[in-house]
């Protein structure tokens, strides 16, 4: 995946959403970003954050993520792959 594309997603994710500083310590592009309600490490984002993520993607890339696809945006790499599938890669 294009590193500049990943960086754009990563940096906007952190700047747009309320991510706790402590959580960022182990933050990788595969880290699950939403609170999964189990023991898996994640960034603890919630449904309002998911909505903001969709808004962010619309503002950055002009693409509307359908409601049923929101759950596919579970990590930086997953967001990049999803957008790539829809012809967005920069």
């Amino acid at each position: 995946m294009n590193e500049a594309f990943l960086t754009k997603i990563r940096e906007n994710l952190v700047s747009h959403l309320d991510i706790e500083k402590e959580a960022l310590a182990g933050f990788t592009d595969d880290t699950i970003i939403f609170n999964t309600g189990d023991d898996r490490p994640n960034l603890g984002l919630d449904s309002m954050d998911a909505l903001e993520l969709v808004t962010m993607i619309f503002e950055l890339f002009g693409f509307d993520v359908p409601a049923e696809d929101v759950k596919k945006l579970y990590s930086v790499n997953a967001i990049a792959a999803y957008l790539n599938e829809h012809g967005i890669n920069e």
Partner: protein
């Protein structure tokens, strides 16, 4: 000696005129229509009253009162015992744990064999800057989020304008498929009043996704009885859209204060409360529900 008699609103007004409030008058009217008004006499003198109304299979005690100078003589306990004993079905009540008489009421209810059957967070929202705080949230995040939801295909309709098909979906959907459903044992006020043109349903592709049901007892006040979203669509914050619409509608009518309740047991509900509702919350308390099972308790 304490004696109990059922009566109408005339006796309630006659004996307790100086202690009446808009709330107790409304409870009394509801009690006269669909429940009971019970007066307690201590040595022949009016000493207190109990108001109840019937909702589904539950008789709900909406208010109980003892004259200040006659408190501590067992009037409240006798009223509640008599009402619970003579109720046709289940008998229950709900009240705020922040009320000054809550400890005494809890003690009495548990002594009589009532069981706590639920607790909900209650949030009071008021203050001169109530709508300014909400506007600030909308400006920062809310408006954009609502626009996103609409682009995703979510749309809203008031309960008054909802199609019969949508209402049927609501009626047919099991409570278990929704978060924080309206439960008659958790009713805040007697009856099941809903103000249909400020209550809003939200749909996605024709399917009911979320709903906000509110009741306005007067033009200045609103009670948000339930905020609920489909379990299948949880995680998308669809509830924000009907909530914003409903807030706009009660505000348009002149509402300056409101309360709402939440179970507060789920992560989604808690984060929604922290991210959205905290912008307007002035005071938090817990609403405790108690129920009396006639056959099991030894009153």
């Amino acid at each position: 000696m304490i004696t109990i008699k059922e009566c109408g609103t005339e006796q309630y007004r006659e004996h307790f005129g100086s202690y009446r409030t808009t709330f107790t008058d409304r409870c009394a009217m509801s009690a006269e229509q669909s429940g009971r008004i019970m007066l307690a006499y201590l040595d022949g003198e009016a000493a207190g009253y109990l108001l109840s109304s019937n909702a589904h299979d539950l008789e709900f005690m909406s208010y109980v009162f003892t004259l200040p100078e006659l408190r501590g003589k067992g009037v409240m306990q006798t009223l509640i015992r008599e009402a619970a004993k003579t109720a046709d079905g289940q008998f229950g009540t709900a009240f705020s744990d922040g009320h000054e008489f809550a400890p005494a009421l809890i003690h009495t209810l548990e002594k009589l064999g009532f069981e706590q059957c639920g607790s909900k967070y209650m949030f009071r929202c008021d203050g001169d800057d109530l709508w300014d705080r909400w506007d600030a949230f909308m400006e920062k995040k809310g408006r954009k989020s609502c626009e996103t939801l609409r682009r995703q295909g979510y749309s809203t309709v008031t309960l008054a304008e909802a199609s019969e098909e949508l209402l049927e979906q609501y009626r047919q959907t099991p409570y278990s498929e929704y978060a924080n459903p309206l439960n008659h044992q958790h009713l805040i006020l007697p009856g099941a009043e809903i103000t249909k043109d400020v209550s809003v349903m939200c749909t996605l592709n024709g399917r009911l996704a979320a709903y906000v049901f509110a009741y306005m007892p007067d033009r200045y006040s609103a009670i948000f009885k339930t905020l609920s979203s489909s379990a299948a669509l949880q995680g998308g914050a669809a509830i924000l859209l009907p909530l914003c619409e409903s807030f706009a509608k009660v505000r348009g009518r002149g509402c300056t204060q409101f309360v709402f309740s939440m179970d507060g047991v789920g992560d989604h509900a808690n984060s929604f409360r922290n991210k959205v509702l905290s912008n307007v919350i002035s005071k938090t308390s817990k609403r405790l529900s108690y129920i009396y099972h006639k056959k099991e308790a030894a009153i």
